[in-house]
């Protein structure tokens, strides 16, 4: 509980590694292993507003920190994080209940290039838990819908029960100003949607490749194959942006844990242009 989380000493301003105490407001069980936490500042300190695609370090007290994308924000400094139980720390985070404490520092990294997307068609491709870090970008576009061209969302998951944000998917499906394609790798007979890997939906997507910006987030192999399929449709590698994941420690560009070629993912990413990344991901046709 939060009472156990001592406020750090602050003789000369907050230490960059010191997490700010937050408290869990609500927990939504998205899938059997994934929850969305709404957390609010416990006290007067809060992290600055996050830009779409940035992440925060969430500290599970007594265990350690994990980088988790910011999947939304609300008034009073409330942050939303969608977390999958993937190991020790994320297991603890997915077990939090309202009233529990969690430490937060951030927001960190470079997010989605929202300015570059203005006036252009936007293609958002999410694989599995790639959707949460894309949701703030999507909401930014929807708040100022006329500033962008066509909006195509392609979301793939392993099976129907792995899809997150069920209510929002319904809402997006009903909107006339975007096109949502949801596909799963395999399904039972009770699924009436598409079945096939996410890349199979790209030939069908509606956008003008010459004036398109693509935001892609998911496991690395999915992003690589998606960027390749986008290239085949004529979207230049420089217009495709992907969000990379690497193990992190400091998240401040000090320790080198997240190094990927010449980049530190925590500082130079996590969102990076596919143009520079392609050779590092083993894609030669760029």
């Amino acid at each position: 509980m939060l009472a156990e989380a001592a406020e750090p000493d602050e003789p000369s301003g907050p230490h960059p590694f010191a997490p700010i105490p937050y408290v869990v407001r609500s927990v939504v069980q998205e899938t059997p292993d994934t929850v969305t936490l709404a957390i609010a500042p416990h006290g007067s300190r809060r992290i600055p507003p996050a830009r779409p695609g940035q992440f925060a370090m969430l500290y599970a007290f007594g265990l350690g920190e994990s980088p988790i994308g910011v999947s939304g924000s609300a008034g009073e400094g409330v942050l939303f994080h969608t977390v999958r139980d993937a190991g020790r720390i994320t297991h603890a985070l997915t077990r939090l209940t309202p009233g529990d404490g969690v430490g937060v520092r951030g927001p960190y990294g470079r997010g989605w290039p929202m300015e570059a997307a203005r006036g252009r068609d936007v293609v958002i491709v999410a694989g599995g838990l790639g959707l949460p870090p894309l949701r703030p970008a999507l909401r930014t576009i929807l708040r100022d819908r006329d500033a962008y061209g066509r909006l195509e969302i392609i979301y793939g998951a392993r099976t129907p029960k792995d899809l997150v944000y069920a209510a929002e998917l319904q809402e997006w499906r009903r909107r006339g100003d975007l096109r949502l394609q949801v596909t799963v790798d395999a399904a039972g007979r009770d699924w009436y949607g598409d079945v096939g890997v996410v890349t199979t939906r790209i030939p069908d997507a509606r956008f003008d490749p010459a004036r398109t910006v693509a935001f892609v987030c998911g496991p690395e192999i999915m992003m690589k194959l998606t960027a390749r399929a986008l290239l085949a449709r004529g979207v230049p590698a420089s217009a495709t942006w992907v969000s990379m994941e690497r193990n992190m420690k400091c998240a401040l560009g000090f320790c080198g844990h997240c190094q990927f070629g010449p980049s530190f993912v925590c500082r130079d990413g996590p969102v990076l242009s596919f143009e520079g990344l392609a050779p590092r991901l083993g894609v030669r046709e760029v």
Binding site: G128, D185, A187, R189, Y192, V195, V197, T200, G218, I221
Partner: protein, 155 residues
Amino acid sequence: MSAPSRDLEAAIARHPFFAGLAPELVHAVSAGAEARVVAPGALIAREGTPADVFCLVVAGKIALEVGAPDRPTLTVQTLGPGEVLGWSWLIPPHRWRFDARAVKETRFLALPADALRGILADHPAWGFDVLRRLVPVLAERLENTRVQLVDLHAR
């Protein structure tokens, strides 16, 4: 064989699989073809039975299903408008390799496989054109299957 209806011939010529191919080829393959509409849930092909038609999907959605005695039936791919149902009609022993079921009301053009194989054998240039359209479908499905095997969602 009776002359194909003009509407049917036009529909085949418009389908992406045949679009741009020789009108004479389209005319020939239209003979005996049928436009079919099936209700949601209808079985279009059953694994192991003769693949006696080549289906061009016009509207709706078809699920390719894999059944195993010890597991619930699994849909491994869906096909939509502009896509084609399989190549079992061309490759011996000409039997379906999957179940194919309509997910919603589905319209497709069914070309009789016997006649089609005869036409393509008699006109190797047309046969080559059709193979050039079919091989990319095969290659794409193979690549997608590989990608599914790799498991796109595994970290």
